[in-house]
Amino acid sequence: MLLDIEKHVTPEHSRSHLRFPFRLERPAAKLNIRFSYTPKVLEEDAVARRLMEISIERYIEPERQKAALENLERYLPLQNLITVSVDDADGYRGACHRHDPAQQLYLSENGASPGLIGGRIGVGDWAVTLSVHSVVTESCACRLEVWVSGEEGFE
């Protein structure tokens, strides 16, 4: 296992990147990433409404705020959003900007999960970045595992 990380994030982590570097000492056939976070949804209705009231005041024009507050349900439920991106020693290897709270991803010489870029799983410094777009729950538990399978040319 190259990375096995458990990290609790809170609303204070919103709008920040968490970068997890690791080093690959030998080329591999496939790099595997398992990422999950929980909870996905903010269940407390009153909290969600309060957050949306603040948001409406901030982002909606004054004359439309009343109507927006009356239709506040359309924004619910509020959700946490954390996305994955990958870098190898030579640069960016893509991102998976989607809402799934559990993702099993891979990169290999000839392919990769949608969003990631296939190609050599080469020696050097790699990193997985978790982009914490939004944490609306009091706390959110993230798990990130990274491992390789197969030597280059095998599997």
Binding site: S14, R15, S16, H17, L51, M52, S55, I56, R58, Y59, I60, E61, R64, Y75, L78, L81, T83, S85, G91, Y92, G94, A95, C96, H97, R98, H99, A112, P114, G115, L116, I117, T129, S131, H133, S134, V136
Partner: protein, 335 residues
């Protein structure tokens, strides 16, 4: 000038879309588009089979990426290399923009007034902007039946404010198209003005976007030319009418408005009506007339171009029972 029907804001399963690139391209072709930009969130991996899909559909596909940052979404098109969106902070979007341009790309604000955090973190534009001229465009019409949406009206007003402030910046539409789902809503089309029809379309489309040779509509193609009384020459959308030495002569101009109802035939409809055609400038509405006919035609309107810094045409009318802006051209500037 050939005007190419384009859709500049799309997603596939390589980000959060529910479609493949071939599905997207076939869907676009069916709706009468000749050019799309694939602008997945923070990745360009969906472009791996671009050439094959272009061959299959005949569509030009522009490489793009939507910078999906915490402080704003910015659509980028035409880049030859990746520029790291993760460096974006509220006060440094200018650095990213410089890099995007350095790698041959153009950039525009995506849906700048869509509600932001926590419903959609980054969807509302919160970056500090020092110089609006450095942005190539503002996506003023987002999603479907765009002109009636309050957040798009704000974006359109922002664009007008920037033109009034003397900035030269284009305005586009983008469906933010995530899946092949039928809709009864009117769809927007961004027409890009192609100068060289022999050159590769994707390349020419990018030049048009950069130069602001852009017209946006829910149906008929509305374009504009200004014939200058001073020079006797005609200037198209995105161009600059030069200043004349003699003030008296320069003030008299003719707006030549072309309206083509025959574009994308059968793919959109508007009820029979009397449309309102208006010529706008920094001075407000400077000329207007009614349009009854739906034949393809060019209309001449005399305008007084004194103290004018920019001008554009707008077509207004009733769509699905709502009186709304139907089409607008990008600006022609005055030196």
């Amino acid at each position: 000038m050939k005007w190419v029907a384009s859709e500049l804001h799309t997603h596939t399963a390589h980000s959060d879309g529910k479609q493949t690139l071939p599905e997207l391209a076939r869907g676009a072709k069916k709706l009468g588009y000749d050019c799309i930009a694939l602008t997945d969130h923070n990745t360009m991996s969906g472009l791996a089979d671009k050439e094959a899909v272009e061959r299959e559909t005949g569509l030009a596909i522009l490489p793009g990426m939507e910078w999906t940052t915490f402080y704003g979404h910015m659509v980028t098109v035409g880049l030859r290399a990746f520029v790291d969106w993760r460096q974006a902070e509220p006060d440094n979007i200018r650095a990213g923009l410089t890099e995007i341009h350095r790698h041959g790309g153009v950039a525009g604000l995506a849906h700048p007034f869509r509600i932001g955090s926590p419903a959609c973190t980054g969807c509302y534009w919160e970056f500090e902007v020092e110089d609006w001229n450095e942005f190539d465009y503002i996506e003023v019409w987002s999603t479907t039946f765009a002109p009636i949406r309050p957040d798009n009206r704000r974006a359109y007003a922002l664009w007008t404010d920037r033109l009034n402030a003397g900035d030269r910046i284009a305005a586009t539409s983008g469906r933010d198209w995530h899946e092949q789902k039928a809709t009864d809503d009117p769809l927007s089309v961004t027409y890009l003005g192609i100068e060289d029809e022999q050159a590769p379309l994707a390349e020419q489309a990018l030049l048009a976007l950069r130069a602001g040779r852009v017209a946006v509509t829910l149906g008929p193609l509305l374009t504009l030319e200004i014939r200058s009384g001073a020079t006797g020459r005609t200037y198209g959308i995105g161009a600059v009418v030069p200043a004349a030495a003699d003030e008296g002569v320069s003030a008299s101009c003719t707006a030549l408005v072309s309206l083509q109802f025959s574009v994308r035939e059968g793919l959109w409809e508007l009820p029979p009506q009397s449309y309102r055609l208006a010529i706008w400038s920094n001075k407000g509405v400077v000329a207007e007339r009614r349009i009854e006919a739906t034949d393809d035609a060019t209309y001449s309107l005399d305008i007084d171009a004194g103290d004018t810094t920019w001008t554009r045409a707008e077509l207004w009318g009733v769509v699905k029972g709502i009186y709304t802006l139907i089409a607008f051209t990008n600006a022609i500037y005055f030196a």
